[in-house]
């Protein structure tokens, strides 16, 4: 675990063509500081696994508009006109995955489960050409675990060991993304000392976090 003071250095090693797991749902729980650093660095051809690729002009939406993203694995494009436009114009590749399936695939990746079965998507276009299996007379899809070289997550508080606590609906995909990143970089609103967090209240145990940086909430946190 390393504590960083510069977002620029915190994203060291994320280069063109990297695959990133990124936490956040809509405006909440998004590592805005790290994303801004990626924009400033100008890395290109990113593959991003994230529920909704940010919002118009917010979070991952910034990288999308700046044409730094090649492919997005997500569940939702709605309400994000630039994303819809790039998708329909085939300027960005999109793999649509049901939201619960993304959540579980990423969890499985971090949990050492190579594959599992889920009913979501059975009988729909996302099942086409896919391996399915019957359980109790119903059809399920085989889904594989997802990991990535880097995970970018956002938490409310984090300690210097890497334990994280989320606030309100800021948890969303962050805990699974943290566990599934080979190198997980956590942006926290407040960095606290080891021992300051209550063990029962920790949401992401330190073992999943390799880098941590304090990034105070600013107006970028508000849509």
């Amino acid at each position: 675990m390393s504590v960083y003071t510069s977002v620029e250095k915190a994203i060291d090693g994320i280069n063109d063509g990297a695959t990133l797991l990124v936490g956040g749902f809509g405006p909440v729980g998004t590592p805005c500081g790290l994303i801004q650093a990626l924009k400033d660095k100008g890395v290109k051809d990113l593959t991003v696994i994230s529920n909704n690729c940010g919002e118009e002009g917010f979070g991952l939406g910034i990288l999308l508009r700046n044409r730094q993203i090649k492919k997005v694995i997500c569940s939702y494009l709605g309400g994000h006109p630039e994303f819809e436009r790039q998708y329909l114009a085939k300027e960005v590749e999109v793999e649509l995955v049901p939201q619960g399936t993304i959540a579980e695939r990423v969890r499985a990746g971090g949990a050492g489960i190579p594959a599992f079965y889920t009913r979501a998507g059975a009988g729909t276009i996302i099942a086409e050409g896919r391996e399915t299996r019957m359980f109790n007379g119903k059809e399920y899809l085989l889904e594989t675990g997802l990991r990535a070289e880097f995970a970018l997550v956002k938490a409310y508080k984090g300690d210097r060991l890497g334990n994280l606590i989320y606030r309100r609906t800021g948890m969303n995909f962050n805990p699974m993304m943290a566990a599934a990143g080979i190198t997980t970089i956590a942006e926290v609103e407040e960095l606290v000392e080891i021992g300051d967090l209550v063990p029962e209240q920790v949401h992401t145990p330190s073992i999943y976090v390799q880098r941590i940086i304090e990034f105070r909430k600013t107006d970028t946190g508000k849509l």
Partner: protein, 214 residues
Amino acid sequence: MAWTRDQIAERASHEIEDGFYVNLGIGIPTMVTKYLPSGKQVVFQSENGLLGMGPPAKEGEEDIDLVNAGKQYTTMAPGAALFSSAESFAMIRGGHIDLAILGAMEVAANGDLANFMIPGVMVKGMGGAMDLVYGAKRIVVVMDHTNKHGDTKVLNRCSLPLTGQGVVSRIITDRAVMDITDEGLLLVELAPGYSAQDIQSCTEPTLIIPAHLQ
């Protein structure tokens, strides 16, 4: 006279029983929270990780860390719990949600639902809908009876890519309430000013019309 969006939401609120855990989709479904009869203990789930969603946040009182699945600022009811998306969909997929009220682009008489894309034209994405349709114990669809071109959205077979097969139990539109049954599409209720024949004329499947609605 067709039901307004608010009236559809009010009608949908009758589907909720005491003690239910309910997931509401984006749009009209979200408005259902406004019409909950008092005296019922109901818990709303928001699939981004909140059980015990309260009414929408009042202007000026938004908590920027607290949104619903439609990304609107919301509130928490007493007894709320917060958790990850994996836990949220464990709840959904595991059959713990009593009722989901969802929007639709098309519904078919066999219960098929399409509500996430029009190929080449519009792609919202399925969000959590593909998990919800198979996971929740009961699916009620709320929508306008016809699309903006005046074509019916209640079909023999969906033409758009499906969200799920045979998943819808009840359809509440601005003109009527219909149930998907083994025998076919059953007319259950009419909006004021509509006759059974009016509904049949804007509905592709042949309706089963009970005597009291003839």
